[in-house]
């Protein structure tokens, strides 16, 4: 494939990038929100805590691809009007949520007892102490691993191609089926993913710096 041919495919690839960005945004948002909820629920006593623990354990121990396949094949059987995008987004969000839950749980437990002592000694009821003191500090502490997880979620969207959802990786496969030039096509796609991931990493670091409370 000549370079001009590659240029011809550029619009398609950029379109596909938009799809990937959109998918990533949904998965990251869903995954983070669900993950925080799971982290808080996981601290409760049985049965809620136990259910959450089992859920997190199963989600983390099984590969994402299997979750995607399972959702793709199962969900239409369980619910009627489920689009491919919904099924895949749900599977990926739940997968990320399991990891986020672990990260946030660890961060919350890492908040020293002395700080929750201080909050309690001021007469803060447990929910208030969690909301105003523990959770804000836990999220700050959890930012680096959370950012990492977001990058992994972006990379994970490539698996949507395995069930025929059109995004950047599938677009690449389609192109080389017509005009075989894997190095150029996938090379460019790799660069596009790379830009996306490093952008998020840098944004994450700046966010971290802004919320840092030490100097």
């Amino acid at each position: 494939m000549s370079d001009s041919a590659l240029v011809r495919y550029l619009p398609i690839l950029l379109q596909a990038t938009v799809v990937t960005v959109y998918l990533s945004a949904m998965v990251v948002t869903g995954g983070t929100v669900l993950g925080v909820v799971l982290a808080l629920l996981g601290r409760r006593a049985r049965p809620v805590g136990l259910v959450v623990d089992v859920f997190v354990y199963v989600m983390r121990g099984v590969p994402l691809l299997v979750h995607v396949f399972a959702a793709y094949f199962w969900l239409p059987m369980l619910l009627t009007d489920v689009s491919k995008v919904t099924a895949v987004t749900l599977a990926m969000s739940l997968y990320m949520a399991a990891f986020v839950a672990e990260i946030v749980r660890g961060a919350i437990e890492g908040i020293s007892r002395t700080l929750s002592d201080a909050a309690r000694s001021l007469g803060m009821p447990p929910a208030l102490a969690m909301r105003r003191v523990v959770l804000p500090l836990a999220v700050r502490a959890a930012m680096p691993p959370l950012m990492n997880r977001m990058v992994m979620a972006i990379k994970g969207t490539s698996l949507a191609s395995a069930v025929g959802l059109w995004e950047l990786s599938l677009a690449g496969r389609e192109i080389i089926q017509r005009d075989l030039a894997p190095f150029q096509v996938f090379g460019l796609i790799a660069v596009l993913y790379f830009c996306l991931c490093t952008l998020v990493t840098h944004a994450g670091r700046r966010l971290e710096a802004r919320f840092a409370y030490e100097h």
């Binding site: 099984v62 199962w74 059987m77 990379k155 190095f183 090379g187 790799a190 993913y193 790379f194 490093t198």
Partner: protein
């Protein structure tokens, strides 16, 4: 929509074969990733400027792009440069390169932590460098690497599922074929999920024992 466990039992051999392939591919993947990771770690710690730059580029590139894309690059690309590799070999290579990048970060941190303090201590005791490397650094390096390798193996097993996209019949592919053929989607994916879960759990348990043993030996 009844659940038919009988179906799983009957098709267990097929899934077991897939599982075996998964384990084999993952093991070879680790065999490739470990030396790459170690070399990259050493390169970034003790190599000259251009070597360190190269390893950083490698690590950054392979950590910030999806494994799937790397897999496609190897699988579709190698034949074009004259290397007619087995798809399995391509898969192992891709896994090795991807996980090598992650291992290199772990090794780098571990080696850096060990080497500085320990070499200082050894030197202050008058130990020659070669001896310090062999008696002090190496045992600690191994102690550091073992859990890291174990952890990475668990991730490798999960990522080996991606090899199903290039038609390698490991566990996920076996499951997919079975599900498409029979329509017993529930049973198949529960079985596949359970098998992965068992493998990762056993690995995690084994890892914890090894770490415990290592700590006891201190």
């Amino acid at each position: 929509m009844g659940f038919n466990p009988d179906y799983i039992v009957r098709n267990l051999p097929v899934l077991a074969e897939g599982l075996w392939m998964t384990l084999v591919v993952s093991a070879f993947g680790l065999l490739v990733a470990a030396p790459i990771g170690f070399a990259a770690a050493l390169g970034s710690l003790r190599g000259r400027r251009w070597v360190a730059g190269l390893t950083t580029a490698y690590v950054q590139a392979f950590r910030n792009t999806p494994l799937l894309v790397q897999l496609y690059l190897v699988y579709f690309g190698l034949p074009l440069i004259g290397l007619a590799w087995d798809p399995t070999a391509s898969g192992v290579a891709a896994l090795g390169l991807y996980h090598g990048a992650f291992l290199s970060e772990v090794f780098r941190a571990g080696l850096a932590a060990i080497s500085a303090r320990q070499l200082e201590a050894a030197a202050s005791l008058g130990m020659p460098y070669r001896l310090a490397l062999r008696r002090i650094l190496l045992p600690q390096a191994v102690r550091m690497m073992l859990p890291a390798l174990g952890n990475e193996f668990v991730l490798l097993v999960k990522n080996s599922s991606l090899l199903s996209t290039i038609a390698i019949v490991e566990l996920t592919m076996s499951g997919k074929l079975l599900a498409e053929r029979s329509g017993a989607v529930y049973e198949v994916f529960v079985a596949v999920g359970a098998l992965y879960l068992i493998v990762t759990s056993l690995m995690a348990l084994a890892l914890r024992r090894v770490e415990w043993r290592l700590r006891m030996a201190e």
